[in-house]
Amino acid sequence: MKRANGKRIGARVVSYAILLFWIVITLIPLYWMLVMSLKDTSMSASFSPEWFPKNPSVATYIRFFTETDAMRWLGNSLFISTVLTFTNVLFCSLAGYAFAKLRFPGRNTIFWMLLGTMMIPAQVTLIPVYIIVVNTLQLGNTYTAIMLPMFATVGNIFLMKQYMSTLPTTLIQAARIDGCSEWRIFYKIILPISKPGLAVLAIFTFVATWNEFFWPFLVTQTSSMRTIQIGLASFKFAEATDFGAMMAGSVIAALPMFILFFSLQKYFLQGITIGAVKG
């Protein structure tokens, strides 16, 4: 018994060591971002990161907020990401559920068509998409244009399909017997027991759309329509970059994701379906 305990403690030490190593690797960029944001070095052409902020100052943050449309950009990003998170959670889980749990003609064909097109690199479809959105639909410089292509993404559908395939099918059947409409089954049974999956989907979507740079950049023209990521890029000038303000902006831009993460994280881990079925 003693030995077994020793082994267990040893394993635990090793596992913590591995985790800590990884955390160091992943946290460095975050840390430097913070350190740099506290350094008011306006316009040095090049920038070497430092370990400890010397004379930390919040001037960069002030500059970020006063000299740009930062509030507007943050608002835009918040609006877009919130809407997209909502639509993706709703529509992708619906579709994922259909692909995972419902049987209907063409199911596999449709699914593979969806997945298959993801495999064509975006570089070549950019022009046709641009033509559709900007030239044909005349949606240039609108929120609609920014949001539409990411309204319900195939990757998210795939994610939900995979997640929902592990849910017990008899629950769905029980609900059908209980007189539930298919929509209500989804809403009352599937959604609640998929909470961990939905939380993951939500945070992924929010982060992805929040960090999305290129497409919003492509279809917006005015500063008032820009998202925070596009805004951040404007601190790069021809021969210099305002790293301080840019990093300050990055830190600010990271906050909503932090908040969302921590408010959702309790859902990430839940054995929700325990006790549902025997066998």
Binding site: Q173, A174, G179, G275, A276
Partner: protein, 362 residues
């Protein structure tokens, strides 16, 4: 009104590994009458659950038609069939409290809140769940979960109830109570009930008629008494009754005498007409354990191999004509293994079967 008609219903499953198909239900044709309490029995894996699921519309039959109330329901969605069901594996909603589990179906039907509360209170009371209403399924014992599954059905007021072994995980006492409640429920609601059970007492007490299935095929449909007294074939005979009927090969010496090993036994008068056709042939003689009586004046002398005391009754195991035979006797007679005793076969209770077709003779 809720009759259910199975018309040549077949259900097959792909059985990938064996590269073929597996037939779970095979050309089943029968009719369940309105307001009938019909019990399905049969060995494990014979297709009872599958049949129930087809009635509910959860499983689509491979062939044949199902009618409910005379209406073809092949394309009717489960929720539109007005059915309540207890799933064999419970299928409780894990994220809902017991109360929510019980009331979910009613809420779907937009029943008034006060009525829901009343029904849930009533059901949870008779199921002994009233202390557990706030718990989640994962915080219940096995039997409690089963009761929730049962409760979820009985709060409803559907045309048809489907019960898939709803009492299997309950203790004897509770089971008796539940049986009574279910019988009452049936009376009160007048719904058609289809009930799967492995418990013969349940089948016998609850069922107006019993369907015996085996390997996907319907073997016999009859009232409990009929099934017990006149099983149509050896399978039914052996399946109904516990311990099972004893089967002993017999040789028909004449229309009024059977030979089994060293013993000659008389055929009762009313059976002789049927036996006549089998004179000089082997048949299978069947007799239930409770029809072999301890009788000091009995003609059959046997050595007891095993003696089992079950409280109210005892089981005696002995060999007869090279078959192991069981007799069920009243609880007060204690006998030691190895003892030799005399017994009587109640020949008027005997059953005879054709050895080839396994069908009843007479």
């Amino acid at each position: 009104m809720a009759t259910i008609v199975f018309e040549g219903i077949t259900k097959t499953f792909a059985d990938a590994k064996k590269g073929g198909i597996f037939t779970a239900v095979d050309e089943a044709t029968f009719e369940i009458k309105d307001k009938e309490f019909l019990v399905f029995v049969g060995p494990s894996g014979c297709g009872k659950t599958t049949s129930l699921r087809m009635i509910a519309g959860l499983e689509k039959q491979t062939g044949g038609n199902i009618y409910i109330d005379g209406q073809l329901v092949n394309h009717v969605h489960p929720k539109d069939r007005d059915i309540a069901m207890v799933f064999q594996d419970y299928a409780l909603y894990p994220h809902m409290s017991i109360e929510q589990n019980l009331s979910f179906g009613l809420k779907n039907m937009k029943i008034e809140k006060s009525i829901i509360e009343e029904k849930v209170a009533y059901a949870s009371k008779i199921l002994g769940l009233d202390q557990l209403l706030d718990r989640k399924p994962r915080e219940l014992s096995g039997g409690q979960r089963q009761r929730v599954a049962l409760g979820r059905a009985i709060v409803r007021d559907p045309k048809v109830f489907l019960f898939d072994e709803p009492l299997s995980n309950l203790d004897a006492k509770l089971r008796v109570q539940m049986r009574i409640e279910l019988a009452e429920l049936h009376q009160r609601l007048g719904a058609t009930i289809v009930y799967v059970t492995h418990d013969q007492v349940e089948a016998m007490t609850l069922g107006e008629r019993i369907v015996v299935m085996n390997e996907g095929k319907v073997q016999q449909i009859a009232s409990p008494q009929e099934l017990y007294a006149r099983p149509q074939n050896m399978f039914v005979a052996g399946f109904i009754g516990s311990p099972a009927m004893n089967f002993i090969p017999a040789y028909v010496l004449s229309e009024n005498q059977l030979q089994m090993g060293d013993y000659l036994l008389d055929v009762p008068l009313d059976r002789q007409d049927y036996v006549r056709a089998y004179v000089n042939r082997q048949v299978m003689f069947g007799i239930r354990p409770e029809h072999i009586l301890l009788d000091p004046k009995g003609s059959v002398e046997v050595k007891v191999n095993v003696f089992e005391h079950l409280g109210a009754e005892n089981l005696l195991y002995f060999s007869f004509n090279e078959q192991s035979v069981i007799s069920k006797t009243a609880g007060e007679n204690f006998i030691k293994a190895g003892e030799t005793i005399a017994m009587t076969f109640q020949m008027e209770k005997m059953h005879l079967f054709d050895i080839e077709t396994k069908q009843r003779i007479g």
